[in-house]
Amino acid sequence: MHPIIKLVSQRLALGILLLFGASALIFGLTEALPGDAAQAVLGQSATPEALANLREEMGLNRPALTRYFEWLTGIVQGDMGTSLTNKLDIAESVGNRLGNTLFLAFWAALISVPLAIFLGLVAVRYRNRWPDKLISAVTLTTISIPEFLIGYVLVYFIAVKLGWFSPLAMINDSMSLGQKLSAIALPVVVLTMVVLAHMMRMTRAAILNVMQSAYVETAELKGLNNFKIIWRHAFPNAIAPIVNVVMLNLAYLVVGVVVVEVVFIYPGMGQYLVDHVTKRDVPVVLACGVIFAAIYIGLNMVADIVSILANPRLRHPK
């Protein structure tokens, strides 16, 4: 068998295994929390009899392992259960919310990833000169400021003072793409500023590392200009570390947007999760946890696979 196929299938198998582990962990942790769904529904003042009845009704008296496998089977089949608080089907609500979150993440990624790589290349080209220093200073500043602060500052100046965009990022299905994009402009800017620095710094470091190598000297002695040397000879050999950090940041765009969604009141997964955590709606929290884990594991698996594919020694064995 081609070694690539073997390595990639190993990664896939490992990813699936990891996902099961994560689901068990999430389930186990919510189990370990004091109180349960019945308690949450009935509140502090519930009588023991009422609690016992509700537990019986919800099947909470059965062993945790049985309930875990029931829940897991449901999830594999796309059934995430019903919400305790609004009795809606979770899969349906999540589907809508997840779509919104991915929409936001997609546009943030579309802007931030190419921008970060471009800025990284520019920083290498003008290493230790003012463009490099300026790029580093600006991106490090934006990553150092908490995102909610950037968010509120942007809302104040751009939305309130200048009135260019709406301070609230409310979107719904009846809006056109243009309207939606205008609505999410500010959160996209905030997210871009948060993830830019990591990716830019890693691009810069990975390429600088490759620039020390003898084949870059060979390229220089072929009379190539600096951008061609970086683009043709350094970049292809720096892909693996760059992809890894890009994927981590993409995962962050999906999983870590909670704060930004709350600031802009954006109807995404983060808001949904926060809402239901406060209401102790355990099935929703579980579903969100598994989805986040799946996205995280999936994107990191993609990073691993791209790293494998980027290695010419593995792609073209002797």
């Binding site: 084949y215 060979t218 002695l221 072929k222 009379g223 190539l224 000879h233 292809p236 050999n237 020694r313």
Partner: protein, 545 residues
């Protein structure tokens, strides 16, 4: 109008050095060198490390490696001073008029791109040829350089061809844009001798057929004698001697050149084997984890007390693996090792402290075999503490004795490795091994990274120490001249097997087996026309078979 292609006048090159604990300062590394090169001629630049030969070679492309800068003088290529040209013009020169072949093709090819893309890149970039023409030219060059399957080898990636093949691809890369001048920077140094001969011949023929001029940089006078018309001898950034190849080889004027020509003149009388060998390696078979073949196959050799067994072979022959098995780092699959009358445990963990003390090792890279944060005194003192429990003034006295033995002296005791030259570092490693009062020292390519004159000094030292301390050496090397200089018995290894074994006089006298014959005849000899003789001889032999 003369035919001068390259005119270098009073070339001065500087660099910034960063000595530990001091302020960076600028030094001059080439102090005003001048020479001419006519079209189609080959000039050999020869010298030891630090002579400035690579630096001068790169200066003909107006290039300085790392912090190296050209600080003065003129470099005229095709009638213009390239040091006064704009960067844009210099880029036209690089890869177009002047091209470069580096020592390590393996490192100089981009691992992520196909060979063909890299070979034609400069020619296309400089608009000398279209991509199609350049590829046709590259295939021609592949064929001319004797590469297998010249029509398709360009579709491979660098890691898919051997080191010798890649070095030829690098030569094709340099010749593809039809340059006026090629700078060859130690192009065969990293290759095995038997591979070197073919690459050398391929380069020589390619130079002759294309009529290109070349600067041939090497530390090996015997190699440069085969390819160049003129030779310039350099030392520490100064020209020592400059003349025709014939004059430099057969009638060197300067003392330094004479020393280079007569290097490897150590005489060593072979000793008779004793009745009881110190070390008996009996039927050793070994493999590394994850490999499905044996790296060593039924290896049997003896080493007698106070004598030297040279284990010689090319890369991949298993000679270093043998050292790992003897030291216990790699437990063998089969066979046993007897040392000083007792059976040694297969595994390092099963060996006594006495076993460890009596069997020491010296490595090829002295730099990385020492802790850069320890002084010479600490490095040599460690085995004295560990094996003999020496402390304080007693230990210091012994360290100084050892420093005297390796001809460095007390003043070195507080120095750090970074403050030592390559030869001095290797001497410190020898002292550290001797500190344990071993019966035997394994020397793994200990002179390979050193300049010839320095290596000679180390070999002489090792021989002298053998007389004084009565220590035996297992001397691993790929260099036959070294073998001749110091061994009492020799084992020739090839693909994990000992193909020839016996006393030095037996192994080095005919009749030879095929491999030993090939190995011996591949060692460059310091006379003109040697390369052609060997190649002609081999052609005749293969025709006769």
């Amino acid at each position: 109008m003369s035919d001068t292609l390259l005119k270098v006048r009073d070339l001065k090159i500087g660099a910034t050095v960063y000595p530990p604990g001091e302020k960076p300062r600028d030094i001059e590394i080439v102090h005003g060198v001048s020479f001419d090169l006519e079209r189609g001629k080959v000039l050999g630049l020869i010298g030891e490390s630090g002579a400035g030969k690579s630096t001068i070679g790169l200066a003909t492309m107006a290039y300085g490696r790392g912090g190296v800068r050209i600080t003065g003088g003129e470099v005229w290529v095709n009638g213009r001073d390239i040091l006064k040209s704009s960067l844009k013009d210099v880029r036209k020169l690089r890869g177009g008029e002047v091209t470069y072949v580096s020592q390590s093709a393996a490192a100089s090819f981009n691992p992520a791109k196909k060979i063909m893309d890299q070979v034609v890149e400069a020619a296309v970039e400089q608009k000398k040829f279209t991509r199609k023409e350049a590829e046709a030219r590259a295939r021609d060059l592949f064929a001319k350089l004797g590469l297998p399957d010249p029509d398709n080898i360009g579709d491979r990636y660098p890691h898919q061809v051997s080191g010798g093949q890649l070095q030829r691809c690098m030569t094709a890369l340099a010749l593809c844009p039809e340059p006026d001048l090629v700078v060859f920077d130690e192009p065969t140094t990293a290759l095995d001798v038997t591979t070197q001969i073919d690459v050398l011949m391929a380069i020589k023929e390619a130079i002759r057929d294309t009529g290109v001029a070349a600067l041939y940089i090497t530390h090996d006078l015997a190699v440069v004698a085969q390819v160049s018309d003129d030779i310039m001898v350099l030392r520490m950034g100064n020209m020592v001697e400059y003349g025709t190849t014939d004059q430099i080889i057969n009638n060197p004027q300067e003392e330094y050149t004479q020393a280079l020509v007569s290097v490897r003149s150590i005489e060593h009388e072979e000793k008779e084997p004793t009745p009881n060998p110190l070390l008996s390696v009996d039927g050793i078979t070994a493999r590394y984890k994850g490999l499905n073949f044996d790296v060593l196959n039924n290896v049997t050799v003896d080493l007698h007390p106070g004598q030297t067994l040279a284990v010689v072979g090319e890369s991949g022959s298993g000679k270093s693996t043998l050292a790992r098995v003897i030291t216990g780092l790699l437990p063998p699959r089969d066979g046993e090792i007897t040392f000083a009358g007792r059976k040694l445990s297969r595994d390092l963990s099963g060996r006594s402290r006495e076993d460890l003390r009596e069997l020491q090792m010296i490595y090829q890279m002295a730099d990385v075999a020492m802790n850069p944060r320890q002084t010479v005194g600490t490095i040599i003192g460690r085995p004295l503490e560990f094996y003999f429990g020496l402390r304080g003034s007693e230990k210091r006295k012994r360290i100084i004795e050892l420093l005297d033995e390796i001809e460095l002296g007390e003043s070195f005791i507080d120095r750090y490795p970074a403050e030592l030259s390559g030869g001095q570092k290797q001497r410190v490693c020898i002292a550290r091994a001797l500190a344990a009062k071993p019966k035997m020292i394994i020397c793994d390519e200990v002179t390979s990274a050193l300049d010839p004159l320095v290596a000679d000094g180390i070999l002489k030292l090792l021989l002298d120490l053998q007389k004084i301390e009565d220590v035996a050496y297992l001397f691993i090397t790929h260099d036959l001249a070294t073998v001749k200089a110091i061994s009492d018995s020799i084992a020739v290894m090839y693909q994990g097997r000992v193909v020839r074994y016996g006393s030095k006089s037996q192994v080095l006298s005919p009749p030879f087996d095929d491999y030993t014959d090939l190995l011996l005849s591949s060692v460059p000899e310091m006379h003109l026309g040697w390369l052609e003789e060997v190649v002609a001889h081999r052609k005749m032999e293969s025709a006769g078979h």
